[in-house]
Amino acid sequence: MRKIVCYLLLVALMGIISACRGPGIEFRNVPLNNVSDDIDIAVMTPLPETPDYICSYRIIKPDITCQYVTEYGAKFGIVGEPSNTNFGQMTMSNPEKDKILHVYSETGALEYNCPNKLFKVNPELPSDNEAIDIATNFLRGIGFLFLDIDVENVVIGGSTNGIPSHLLVKFTRTIDGFPITGPGSKFGIRIGDEGEIVRVLVWHPEFEQAGEINIIEPYTAVNSLQTKKAYPAAPPDCKSIKIEDISLGYYLSSIDTYQQYLTPAYIFRGKCYNGKGEYLQDYVSWVDAGTYP
């Protein structure tokens, strides 16, 4: 009898532990896109110190209704009926069709465009600091100036014949001190002629804590990168990569597909060189940092 009670207690205890440790195989891992075998990858930076585990977060899937889209449309100055496009967006536009809002049905990400103003020739662009002010005030106005976002940088977002057409103010979101990263990490405001907002692409998913997840050691992640198990692959002309920065963050894959959990990932940043040692392009790659039962 005592053995049975002990066994039941053990089973219950294991259940509690596994529940605390999060949902295991339901995590979405960083995809693999093997790097070509003939590329040398050198790490030029010390490995970061990382914790043994970090919090796991489940993304709350938004309910995208007509009312949801209409409310955001009003914030962008667009009034009217939204329509469903064939490619997973709900769309609103003003009568002149020069202000368009797309809402991604799977994730709730917002995309606002002024198509005629993105590549205006010889625009009068604000300074970087002015652009940051414009972007920040705009986000405050639409209720998107969240406490967990910070300005990352200001870059030339688009150019015509080499002359800047608009600026891109990029924001980064951090959770528990770790940045959100990956192709799904979208939080950018583009500013064109005379400081006008010409494009907005923002996704700020809501999430809830779902236990903790063990993190692999940085050298294990480096080993994965050097044994060509990383995402994405380098371009074909690339013959060597020098890694200059390694950090830990949460990976989001895409704004058009619902992702159940934020995926812990090591971020490798560096530069690609061709066979002659000439710089080709900046390199960023991700390696899944979680260990899953």
Binding site: N33, N34, S36, D37, D38, G80, E81, P82, S83, T85, N86, F87, Q89, T91, M92, S93, K97, I100, E111, N113, P115, L118, F119, V121, V155, I156, G157, G158, S159, T160, N161, G162, S165, L168, K170, T181, G182, P183, S185, K186, F187, G188, L201, P232, A233, A234, P235, P236, D237, C238, K239, S254, I255, D256, L280, Q281, D282, Y283, V284
Partner: protein, 263 residues
């Protein structure tokens, strides 16, 4: 007398045949004309590359991506899809002078590439100086491959690469940095180009913006895209059926280019 009758009969038969021919010519002619007038699209992809050194990685989603593009244009844009599939062997000749690529209004390529070239399955390069696009029908070509337009930022054709291939084609869409093989990149590019609800809230974007915004969805801020065109007005082109090209272009020694950094 009998010979005269025969001659008359033969004459009237010939007249009848001629009249019938003219009738058939008039009635049947519009069908091939209509087919030629329809907007046409095509696409090629390379998924598996031949073995070579250095090795070239296969690409997982090039077929899916190309098919998505052509399906969207066919179903929502009313385009006629003449070449749909991996009609192997895809050879240089399909892209070079008087090529099959050039006999369509819009063309999609999905595979590996580099500055000034695309790479075929047999590891043969199609170089910028081997192609001439726009000789026939081609308005827009989309090269979903790495770095194809990396060197096209001078504005003068002789110092660019793919810019030299502009021979009547209006826009070549490509990238400065690497792209990944993604199954739905093309789906969004096509989706932006086409107004899905005809007069409702949806809007057709220009070909140029559709390339930039469609790809921006799946790429991070390290990705830089580029489009080159015969002149500045080509940036205002819409797809045929959505507004069409903006004005006529003059082929000359200069070109325009637009560069876009993803979010």
């Amino acid at each position: 007398m009998r010979i005269k009758d025969h001659k008359r009969k033969l004459g009237s038969n010939i007249c009848m045949i001629l009249a019938l021919s003219v009738f058939l010519w008039i009635t049947i002619l519009p069908i091939p004309l209509l087919a030629e007038d329809a907007y046409e699209a095509a696409g090629y992809w390379v998924e598996e590359y031949d073995w070579g050194w250095p090795p070239v990685l296969d690409l997982d989603y090039t077929e899916e991506d190309t098919q998505e593009f052509l399906d969207y244009l066919e179903n929502s844009g009313g385009y006629l899809i003449n070449i749909k599939g991996d009609e192997s062997p895809v050879a240089q000749i399909d892209f070079t002078y008087n090529s099959r690529a050039d006999s369509h209004d819009i063309f999609w390529f999905d595979g590996h590439g580099g500055a000034g070239h695309i790479l075929l399955a047999n590891l043969e390069k199609v170089e910028y100086d081997e192609v001439s696009w726009g000789d026939y029908d081609l308005e827009w070509i989309m090269l979903h491959a790495c770095e194809t337009l990396a060197d096209d930022d001078t504005g003068t054709k002789s110092t660019g690469k793919f810019a030299q291939a502009l021979n009547g084609a209006r826009l070549i869409c490509g990238s400065v940095t690497s792209l990944i093989s993604h199954p739905t990149d093309s789906y969004y590019v096509a989706g932006y180009m086409i107004d899905d609800d005809g007069g409702g809230a949806d809007v057709a974007y220009t070909v140029l913006l559709s390339w930039f915004l469609g790809l921006d969805i799946h790429y991070d801020d390290g990705t830089v895209l580029r489009v080159i065109g015969e002149d500045n007005y080509c940036s205002l082109d819409y797809l045929w059926g959505q507004g069409g090209p903006y004005g006529n272009t003059q082929i000359d020694s200069s070109f325009s280019y637009w560069t876009y950094t993803c979010d």
